[in-house]
C-alpha cells in the first residue's frame, strides 16, 4: 500500500508540475462553464441533468489526455525499465498510476463546485440527482481513465495512446446505437454494454447497483488488461 501511494504521489507531482494539466483543465472548465451557462439560462431550471450529459461527452476526449503519459512517457524517457526492475509489483504500479489519474480527475470535477453553489444561491436544486450525477461522472471517468491507461501501456507514442484510449471510450459510449439494427438478445447485450445508457440513470438521480458494478467492472477489466499488457511486454 505504501509503495502504491508512492507511485500515486509521484504521478500527482508530475501531473501538477506539467503545464499540460493546467491547459487541459482550463479548456475543460471553459467548456463545462459554457454548457452550464447556456443550458441553465435557457431552461431556467435548477438542475444539472443535461449539463452532466454534455460533460460526459467531453470526458471522452479528456480522459485519454490525462492518461496518455502514464506508460507511454515512461517508455519514451527510458524510465520504464527502471520501473520494471524496481521492487514494485506490476499491480501496485498500475493501481498507483490509476489512483493518481483518478485523483487528478476528481480535482477537475471538484473545480465545477461553482455550478451547484450557483444553483443553490439562485434556486432550490434537488440534491439527490446532483450527487448521483457527480458520482456517475466520476465512475464513468474512472472507466475511461482505466481504458486510457491500457491504451498507454500498448505504445510509447502519446498521440497513439490518446487515439486508442479515445476509440475505446467512444465505442463504450455509442455501442447501444447498433442495438435497434441488431435487435434480439444481442441488441439487449449491446444496450447493456453502453456506458452512456448506464450514465443516464446517474444523471436523472437513480442509483442502481448494476450501473455502479458495471463502471467498476470496466475499470477492473482495463486495469487487469494493463497488467497483462505490461507483463507481456516485459518479456
Amino acid at each position: 500500500m505504501r509503495r502504491l501511494w508512492a507511485v500515486c504521489r509521484k504521478e500527482l507531482l508530475c501531473t501538477f508540475a506539467s503545464p499540460v494539466f493546467y491547459i487541459v483543465a482550463a479548456v475543460n472548465l471553459i467548456l463545462f462553464g459554457v454548457f452550464f451557462y447556456v443550458i441553465v439560462s435557457a431552461s431556467r431550471e435548477a438542475h444539472l441533468r443535461y449539463v452532466f450529459h454534455n460533460i460526459s461527452v467531453v470526458l471522452l476526449f479528456t480522459s485519454p489526455m490525462l492518461t496518455m503519459r502514464l506508460f507511454a512517457e515512461e517508455r519514451k524517457l527510458g524510465t520504464f525499465e527502471l520501473l520494471m526492475t524496481s521492487p514494485l509489483t506490476l499491480l501496485e504500479l498500475v493501481l498507483g498510476k490509476l489512483l493518481g489519474a483518478a485523483l487528478t480527475f476528481a480535482i477537475l470535477l471538484a473545480l465545477t463546485v461553482d455550478f451547484p453553489i450557483l444553483l443553490l444561491s439562485f434556486g432550490r436544486p434537488d440534491w439527490g440527482p446532483l450527487l448521483t450525477g457527480y458520482l456517475g461522472l466520476f465512475l464513468m471517468g474512472l472507466a475511461f481513465l482505466a481504458a486510457g491507461m491500457f491504451a498507454s501501456s500498448l505504445t510509447d507514442n502519446q498521440v497513439v495512446a490518446v487515439v486508442i484510449g479515445f476509440g475505446i471510450a467512444l465505442l463504450l459510449f455509442i455501442i447501444s446505437w447498433f442495438s435497434p439494427q441488431v435487435g434480439g438478445p444481442v441488441g439487449d447485450f449491446l444496450e447493456g454494454m453502453s456506458i452512456s445508457g448506464r450514465f443516464e440513470n446517474f444523471a436523472r438521480g437513480v442509483l442502481d447497483t448494476g450501473d455502479v458494478i458495471f463502471c467498476l467492472s470496466l475499470t477492473g477489466i482495463f486495469t487487469f488488461l494493463t497488467v497483462r499488457s505490461l507483463d507481456w511486454r516485459r518479456w
Partner: protein
C-alpha cells in the same frame, strides 16, 4: 486458519457449486431474489475462504509462466473478461436501485408495482417508436422502470422506419404507440393517450400520462374477466357519446382504460336489466323514472345490484323514491361554502373535505382536492343491516342555498337556507338488505339477498364532465375509486400522472452575469493563473 486447512478442498468445491448455481439462477432462470442471495453470498464466502487457505497455490498458478506468457495467457485473459461480463449480466438483472429525486419522479407508484409484481403470465409490450422521435424519452424512462419491476413484462422496441413491415402488420398509425399483448388479448396505447396538456391558469403545461394508461392496459390484458358497466339512458342523462364540455365521453374512455366494458341501457325499452350488468350508472337524469322502471331497478338493486347515481341540480320524479329505502334523501338547493371552495369560481363550487372511506382514502392521503360545481346535499338516514356513510362533507361555514336560481350573490337566509356541514356524497353498503317489494315501497327489510347491494350517490354530475377534464382531474379519480368499490374490483386505479417538481429559477441580468463570470471566467482563469505560477516557480528553480 491452519485448523481449517484440511477442509479447504471441501470449502472450494462447495463454494464453486454455490457460485455455479448462482450463475444459473441469475443468468438463465427468473429466480426470486432470496435464492440469489442464498447461493451468491455463501458461495462467495466459501470461495474467498478457499483462496485464503490455498493462497500459495493460487498465487503460483496465476503467476505461472504458462498463464502469463504462453498460449494459455490469452485464454486466461478471455476467461477473466467473460467471468466479469457474466457477473455484470447477473448484477444488472437483479440490481437494487433507489430513486434519489425528492418527489421520486423515476419510481413507479405503489399501485403499479403491486399490479406488475402480481402478474401471473407474460405480458408483451411492443413499442413502435423511431430513433428520431423526440417525445419518446419519458416513455423509454418509464418502460425501463416497468421492465425493472417485473420479469413478466417483455419489452421490445421496434423502429417503424427500419421495420415498416412490423408496423404494417400491427396497423400502427402514430408514434410512439405501445401495443400491450397477453394471451391473445391486445390493447393499443396511442400517443394522444400518453401525452397531453394540463391547463393551469393561462399557461398550458405538457403532461405525460404514461403510467396510468400503461398500468391500466397491462391490467386489462392480464385480467381474465372484465366487469360490464351500463349507463342508464332515457331520462335526459348526460351522454357517454357527448364530447362537448357538458358530456361525459371522457368518463367512458377512462372506464374502458380501467378495464371495464361500457354499454348503455334503456330500461323502459328492454324491460329488464341485463344479466351481465355488474354496475348501473345514472348520470344526471332530468326526466321522470316511470313506475315500471322504478320497480325493475328496485328489484335488481335489492337482489345484488350495484348503483352509482350522479345528481344534477334538480332530481326528476321517481329517483328520490328509488334512493329513499337506502337511507339517502337528496335535498333541494345547492351547497355554498365560503371557507373551502375553488378560488377561481367562488363559494358555489365547494371543495369538500374527505370523510374516512375506502373510496376517498387514496385521495385523502395524497392531499389533493376535489371540486363539485353546483352540488346538491344529501340527507343521510339509516338502512337496516347496512351502513350509510358520508364520503364528502362541506365545512361548518357552509349552507344549503334554497334560492340559488334567483340570488345573484348567495347569502345565508335564516329560515329558508340550511346550515352546514352538508354531505355531498355518500356510500351505502348493505349486508342484510331489502326485499324487492319492500325496497320499491320504502318499507322495512324482510329477507336476505344472495349478494350485498352497494350504492354510491354524488350530489353532483359536473365534476366528471368533459369540461373539467384537463382542469381538475381529481373528480375522475374519485369517480374511478367509487366504481372500483362498487364493482368489487380490488385494483383501484387512481394513479396520477407524475408532475415534475417545480424547480424553476428566476434569472435577471445580474444573476445571469454572475453565472457567466463565475463559471466561464473566474474558475478557468484561476486554473490558468495557478498553472502560470507553477511554471514560473519551476523556471526559477
Amino acid at each position: 486458519m491452519n485448523a481449517l486447512k484440511p477442509w479447504s478442498r471441501a470449502l472450494g468445491i462447495a463454494g464453486a457449486v454455490l457460485l455455479g448455481l448462482w450463475v444459473v439462477l441469475g443468468a438463465v432462470l427468473a429466480a426470486p431474489a432470496w435464492s440469489l442471495w442464498a447461493t451468491g453470498g455463501p458461495g462467495l464466502l466459501l470461495a474467498a475462504g478457499w483462496v485464503a487457505l490455498e493462497w500459495t497455490l493460487v498465487r503460483t498458478a496465476v503467476l505461472s509462466p504458462g498463464l502469463r506468457y504462453g498460449s494459455n495467457a490469452l485464454l486466461f485473459t478471455g476467461a477473466v473478461v467473460i467471468a466479469v461480463a457474466l457477473v455484470n449480466v447477473i448484477t444488472t438483472r437483479h440490481s437494487w436501485r433507489t430513486d434519489l429525486t425528492s418527489n421520486r419522479f423515476f419510481s413507479l407508484s405503489e399501485q403499479t408495482r403491486q399490479i406488475v409484481k402480481g402478474l401471473n403470465r407474460k405480458v408483451k409490450l411492443t413499442v413502435f417508436v423511431g430513433a428520431r422521435n423526440t417525445e419518446s424519452g419519458e416513455l423509454r424512462d418509464l418502460l425501463e422502470l416497468y421492465g425493472h419491476a417485473s420479469r413478466q413484462l417483455d419489452i421490445e422496441y421496434v423502429d417503424p422506419d427500419l421495420k415498416p413491415e412490423r408496423a404494417y402488420i400491427y396497423k400502427i398509425t402514430g408514434q410512439p404507440t405501445v401495443v400491450v399483448e397477453s394471451a391473445g388479448k391486445r390493447k393499443d396505447i396511442l400517443p394522444q393517450e400518453m401525452f397531453g396538456y394540463q391547463f393551469n391558469g393561462q399557461q398550458p403545461q405538457r403532461e405525460f400520462k404514461g403510467e396510468p394508461v400503461l398500468t391500466a392496459a397491462i391490467l386489462s390484458v392480464a385480467s381474465d374477466q372484465q366487469s360490464v358497466i351500463y349507463f342508464v339512458e332515457g331520462h335526459g342523462e348526460r351522454s357517454i357519446m357527448d364530447t362537448t364540455d357538458n358530456g361525459i365521453a371522457s368518463l367512458k374512455a377512462g372506464l374502458e382504460r380501467d378495464n371495464f366494458v361500457v354499454k348503455t341501457l334503456n330500461i323502459l325499452k328492454d324491460g329488464k336489466i341485463p344479466a351481465d350488468a355488474d354496475l348501473l350508472i345514472v348520470a344526471g337524469p332530468s326526466r321522470a323514472f316511470p313506475a315500471p322502471e322504478q320497480k325493475v331497478l328496485a328489484e335488481w338493486l335489492a337482489k345484488s345490484g350495484r348503483l352509482l347515481v350522479l345528481l344534477d341540480n334538480v332530481s326528476p320524479p321517481g329517483l328520490d323514491a328509488i334512493l329513499k329505502p337506502w337511507g339517502v334523501k337528496p335535498l333541494a338547493g345547492l351547497a355554498v361554502d365560503p371557507r373551502s371552495n375553488y378560488p377561481f369560481a367562488g363559494p358555489m363550487v365547494p371543495a369538500p373535505l374527505y370523510e374516512s372511506h375506502k373510496i376517498t382514502a387514496d385521495l385523502s392521503k395524497q392531499g389533493v382536492a376535489v371540486i363539485l360545481p353546483g352540488a346538491r346535499a344529501l340527507e343521510l338516514g339509516t338502512v337496516p343491516g347496512g351502513t350509510v356513510l358520508p364520503l364528502l362533507k362541506t365545512t361548518d361555514a357552509s349552507w344549503l342555498e334554497a334560492d340559488w336560481q334567483t340570488e345573484k350573490t348567495p347569502k345565508f337566509t335564516s329560515g329558508t337556507d340550511r346550515r352546514g356541514p352538508l354531505t355531498l356524497a355518500a356510500a351505502i353498503a348493505v349486508a342484510a338488505p331489502l326485499t324487492a317489494t319492500a325496497a320499491g315501497a320504502g318499507a322495512e327489510p324482510a329477507s336476505l339477498p344472495p349478494h350485498s347491494p352497494k350504492i354510491v350517490v354524488f350530489g353532483n354530475t359536473t365534476f366528471v364532465t368533459n369540461g373539467l377534464r384537463g382542469t381538475i382531474e381529481t373528480g375522475f379519480d374519485l369517480f374511478a375509486n367509487a366504481v372500483n368499490w362498487l364493482s368489487g374490483s380490488t385494483e383501484s386505479i387512481s394513479i396520477r400522472p407524475k408532475q415534475r417538481d417545480d424547480r424553476r429559477i428566476f434569472l435577471d441580468n445580474v444573476k445571469t452575469n454572475i453565472m457567466f463570470t463565475v463559471s466561464l471566467i473566474v474558475f478557468p482563469l484561476g486554473v490558468i493563473l495557478v498553472g502560470v505560477w507553477t511554471w514560473w516557480r519551476r523556471r526559477s528553480l
